[in-house]
Symmetry: C2
Subunit: 340 residues, 2 copies
């Protein structure tokens, strides 16, 4: 039989309350007594039953998710996943509140996080904007002991406890390798469509992509980056324009959003289909994969990211370890053949 608090109380010759105080490192226990209890704990190999503890405490983990009110498919999907988690809240003993903020706005993010500091939830998840103010408030959250995970976009070297997202440099490198292989040795010109070079994930993807091309595919020339602001209309115009001015473009790496526009531009253009690699599996990229307009999609599983963030926040709140492999967010590669 697994030992319970009763067993260790008996073994240490104290009462349940004292055992509980020691277990939860609450004050009001003499050093000697504490020592006795701790000894009994290790001796009997006691491990606390979290479910029972939570039941007794009537505990529910209150988490806050700060999400940008962005209208691209990926963010909409992410929102949906969080709402899914909200729907499962009662079964999972969580209470999740969503705070919407304007995208790419450090001030707004800081304000939301300040709010978190007041509310003192059991944990917070947010999509980082890499700015000094954000780092500063994150540090204060850490001091306040509020578990923190960054989602999708990280705040490296900061006080966040965990990052639930992909390695964007690796993603860029992966795109570079695929592009290089798919273009197979021919001299070629490749265009890159990004959202904005001010955003860290986009910068990192470009960095990884360029690095691989420069290292291994010197036959490929990368055109100056197009910044389409993740906007389908703008993206379409920029890509169409590029295809007109560089009819020899043999490849396009779309590392941000606005893929609907990219796809339209390619379909309308009167050129040989370029090799296209894009990010995020959405309705439009999925069907473009099927139609052969896009050749590969790199994806991060938003559902996984959200579930992982919650698991990690719970674990941090309880001071428990996580299963690292389970929380690693993969860089999914989808061809039309392995679509889910």
């Amino acid at each position: 039989m697994k030992p319970t608090v009763h067993d260790i109380a008996k073994s240490a010759g104290v009462s349940l309350a004292t055992v509980d105080r020691v277990l939860n490192s609450r004050p009001g226990v003499r050093g000697v007594t504490r020592a006795k209890v701790e000894e009994a704990i290790v001796e009997l190999g006691y491990v606390r039953d979290l479910a029972a503890a939570n039941l007794a405490k009537g505990r529910t983990y209150s988490f806050i998710f700060i999400l940008p009110e962005n209208d691209n498919s990926f963010m909409i999907g992410l929102h949906e996943e969080v709402r899914g988690a909200v729907a499962r809240s009662s079964a999972e003993r969580t209470r999740i509140r969503i705070i919407d903020v304007p995208p790419f706005d450090p001030e707004a993010l800081v304000a939301a996080l300040e709010n978190v500091l007041v509310e003192k939830p059991a944990g917070v998840a947010f999509i980082a904007v890499d700015a000094p103010e954000v780092r500063a408030i994150a540090e204060r959250l850490r001091e306040a002991g509020i578990p923190m995970v960054t989602l999708v976009s990280d705040l490296p070297d900061s006080s966040r406890d965990h990052y639930a997202g992909i390695d964007n440099i690796a993603a860029g490198r992966t795109a570079g390798s695929l592009m290089g292989r798919f273009l197979s040795g021919r001299d070629a010109t490749v265009a890159v469509l990004a959202g904005s070079m001010l955003v860290r994930d986009h910068r990192e993807r470009l960095e990884g992509f360029s690095a691989v091309i420069n290292e291994h595919y010197s036959n490929i020339v990368i055109l100056p980056v197009l910044e389409g602001r993740d906007d389908p209309v703008l993206a379409e115009r920029m890509v169409a324009d590029t295809l007109r001015r560089h009819p020899d473009v043999a490849g396009i790496y779309s590392l941000g959003g606005g893929n609907r526009g990219l796809i339209r531009a390619i379909q309308k253009a009167d050129v040989k289909r370029p090799v296209v690699i894009a990010h995020e599996l959405t309705g439009s990229t999925r069907s473009a994969l099927g139609d052969g307009v896009i050749d590969a999609v790199l994806n991060q599983d938003a559902g996984h990211e959200v579930r992982s963030a919650i698991r990690v926040l719970k674990a941090k709140a309880d001071g428990l370890p996580v299963i690292a492999a389970q929380e690693r967010i993969r860089i999914d590669i989808f061809l039309k053949d392995n679509l889910p």
Copy 2:
């Protein structure tokens, strides 16, 4: 406040015991009484607290994992993952027993499953061998109400509740697409190394691979399949032999095990490096990816499969739904750039 059994007892004007009988559909309640209780349940929107129920019952889910005592890296890794789950057992209220059986042996598998039928655990997971006897015993397990999930290799159209593994036809197609693209239009000869054509997953991978090559890459000729029995020594000999007799082989698809031998054969051969696509990320395929001997590895995440199997078995045991997206096992594609 979430309603509890007390609330519905009060609302229905009965005692806790009666409520409990209704909740667990136990006999000994008059139709009218039952109706009253059920009405109160829906009216108050009651949902039972599983954690509390399990605490009261002192419940632990007993599961049996039947695993082949295979010595290839993938199976060893799978074993390890199950042992990891065993280590987490107490925290997860599970008790997992592993039964080892000889690989590819329907009789042995049937015997083990017969044992399961006697032991009546809360669920069983096994790597299917596609044989009529296995289907038959699976049917008996279903009749006995024992939740069943197949792992890695499925038993399609059978009575298993769930399959925790990849779609092997899709995996083969994915390999075919990658091979076709990597070889980019050139006329080429491709060799296929399998374990055994008697195993369903291998057959399906070959089927998918061939289909794509035939549909889209008529420039590629596939040599007769080599059956290396997942044995590194045999595989090395067969591949070396093939490379000697067909120095023009431009691609190799290794859809089974024994990759250590494949890698050695390629390294020793005095030919231009072929494009190599293999399955399962192990120590050797990982370093071969790094060395450029293997170009892509298709992988199924054994850890995910095991954790998923357990989640699904638990859910089935409780008659609860699962989060489908969480239980889909991906066909991971690894290049050297996105290694975990």
